[in-house]
């Protein structure tokens, strides 16, 4: 899978999609865990409470029925100690002293009567007395000196004293912490793995889309024979490619129809034109006397103008439909303009017109040499026909980014106001003009066919300015050096 894209991965759709998908996945699993955690914590709590309540009952019973003699402390103490060894959720600890359970008997006078557990039991008693524990259910009790709270159940026995059984929540907390830590590791791995999978699948999918985009953009305005690539799966992307290709088929077929029409029109007109011209020429060559030759010669000239008009009309018509066929080769605009100026300079200086070229050297574009030649000739013809004597024309050739810009400006009267909004339309010409009104329409047609832009306006200081910009699209089309263009004089 090749990714030729030059934009960073972070800005690709695949990245965004995987980010969102991962976020949703992470939130979902987190939520599930929170429920699970709650459930486990509740369950552990419930078990501890049940044990506490049961044990405290038993201990209370034992304390009540054990005679209050000298062995009372030992008997109850041992029972309490034994109970402490059956603590639920207890983790194996090497400590000799069991600090997770305490047993405490509080006398009626509020003094510590019996203590089994770590320490001397005073802080526990103080905490119990400060909190005034209810006797029906176990509650949390914070004891100074212990970092984790105790769960404490109590029972009042016959002699009025109270028995407290406390279970440290340390082990419960440790179990839950352990659970959370393991979950976090698994969750992180899952999320990263999920992100990876989503990212690579979407990227793969979108690379097909990118392939389609690249192929579609390669299919130029006039080259309709290529098709976008199809994948072997029958998924949405393939459907997209299929739809695009169907659309291209239809466009190509209507384009083909247009070509057939213009071609047959051209053909049907050209053959009789050829015959007429041939006959006129034959009769011109046999007519020696000037009086008869004159109308024949002028008929031939009219015929040539008609042919030129026919060519331009059809070109403009095809270009308006984005169907002008280009025969591409490399053209040096700088060289072309110099040759054109060389060609037109005498005609211009006859009229006192000056022409100047400002160029920074060779500037290659890829285009149809014949069309570009005719386009530039049209621009010169335009100036020659419309400029009053003594004006000057400046041409600036410049390259910006990936386009060549040609600016043609003069200091003549500019475009007549009434035609300015319609400069590039067919048959639009100034009142004074004697052309057939195709000049600028043709120029625009050629520029369009090359994927360029054109603008025409009047300068503030007077005079017309035409700006043509043609992209240097040399990459997509193989460059065939044309001998006609590579001429040097």
């Amino acid at each position: 899978m090749s990714s030729k894209t030059d934009k960073p991965v972070m800005r690709s759709a695949a990245w965004r999609i995987s980010l969102w998908a991962t976020l949703a996945f992470a939130c979902g699993t987190l939520l599930v865990f929170v429920f699970l955690h709650q459930f486990v914590a509740d369950d552990i709590g419930r078990r501890s409470d049940a044990w506490l309540s049961g044990e405290v009952e038993v201990l209370g019973d034992v304390a009540e029925h054990t005679p209050k003699d000298s062995v009372y402390d030992r008997v109850v103490g041992e029972v309490a100690e034994l109970a402490g060894k059956e603590v639920p959720n207890r983790l194996q600890s090497d400590d000799v002293v069991n600090d997770s359970v305490f047993f405490l008997q509080e006398g009626t006078d509020g003094t510590l009567k019996l203590w089994v557990g770590a320490g001397n039991g005073e802080p526990n008693l103080k905490a119990i007395q400060a909190k005034n524990l209810p006797s029906d259910r176990p509650v949390d009790l914070h004891v100074s000196g212990f970092s984790t709270p105790f769960r404490v159940a109590s029972v009042r026995i016959g002699d009025g004293s109270r028995i407290y059984l406390g279970l440290s929540e340390r082990d419960e907390i440790r179990v839950l912490r352990n659970l959370r830590f393991r979950f976090f590791l698994v969750w992180l791995a899952l999320v990263l793995f999920g992100f990876g999978i989503v990212f690579f699948t979407t990227r793969r999918m979108l690379s097909h889309v990118r392939g389609i985009t690249e192929a579609a953009s390669r299919i130029g305005r006039t080259d309709l024979s290529t098709r976008v690539p199809m994948t072997s799966h029958n998924d949405e992307v393939t459907q997209l490619a299929l739809t695009l290709n169907h659309m291209l088929d239809r466009i190509e077929s209507s384009m083909h129809q247009l070509h057939t029409i213009t071609d047959s029109l051209a053909h049907d007109l050209r053959s009789p034109l050829t015959a007429i011209r041939g006959k006129l020429e034959s009769s011109l060559s046999t007519t020696r006397d000037g009086e008869h030759a004159e109308p024949i010669a002028s008929a031939i000239e009219e015929l040539d103008r008609l042919t030129d008009f026919l060519n331009k009309s059809l070109d403009v018509a095809e270009a308006k439909a984005d169907a002008l066929r280009l025969d591409r080769s490399e053209i040096d605009m700088d060289e072309l303009l110099r040759i054109m100026i060389d060609l037109y300079e005498p005609s211009m200086s006859e009229r006192g017109l000056k022409v100047q070229l400002m160029s920074s050297g060779p500037m290659k574009i890829v285009g149809d040499a014949a069309l570009i030649h005719r386009m530039i000739a049209n621009l010169f013809d335009n100036e020659l026909k419309h400029l009053p004597d003594g004006c000057s024309v400046t041409m600036k050739l410049d390259s910006q980014d990936d386009a060549t810009t040609l600016l043609v400006e003069d200091n003549g009267p500019g475009f007549p106001l009434e035609i300015r909004p319609h400069l590039f339309e067919r048959r639009v010409k100034g009142r004074e003009s004697n052309g057939h009104g195709l000049g600028l329409a043709f120029v625009e047609a050629v520029v369009r066919a090359h994927g360029g832009t054109i603008s025409a306006s009047n300068r503030e200081t007077g005079g017309a300015v035409i700006i043509i910009s043609i992209p240097l699209s040399a990459v997509e089309h193989p460059v065939a050096a044309s001998p006609e263009v590579a001429r040097s004089n």
Binding site: G278, D381, N489
Partner: protein, 225 residues
Amino acid sequence: MRLLLIEDELDIQRFLRHSLEEAGYQVEVAGSVKRAEQLAVEGVYDVLIVDLGLPDGDGISAILRLRQLGVKAPVLILSARRSVDDRVRGLEQGGDDYLTKPFALAELLARLRNLIRRNNPSANEATRLRVLDLELDLLRREATRAGETLQLTRQEFVLLEYLCRNAGRVVTRSMILDQVWGMRIQPDTNVVDVHIYRLRGKVDGKSQQPLIRTLRGVGYVLKDR
């Protein structure tokens, strides 16, 4: 010179045959690919003119078929299409030439001469051209008229050289644009005329006998007698 004209339009057939015979060619005419194949097998030709739109096939495949039959003569393709087909371009690179309809007879004749000359390369190209009292030194890029050096620009020299090479024959404006400036354009202004006018000023200026003649509706000719 034997020439095979493959063209189905009767009008064009007729005037081409007439004009080509007048220009000194022996013309055989075929109105279809089938007939052309027959003629090509029977006879040997120096040059062929083939119209692209034929009733029983496409002109280019006809040319390729004739090539298979062993016809080596160069071909001038006549096309009524506006855009030049890639295949025509291919043939052009192979030494053949094309012309779009309608065309000036002078241009057709010039292209035919070119094709025949290219096909039978004569001895070394001359380095000097002489037409009456006009003399061109192609190596030193110098032109003299009656022994007097003409002050020509580079472009004017190229133009004069082209006229001299075609002395006595008509050259059209589009031929001049094609051969001297290297572009096939049809300016609707008199750009070529002005160049000729200037050149004439220098070549014929002081002389009693003007060499460059304008033939209205046709083009120019450099007189050689």
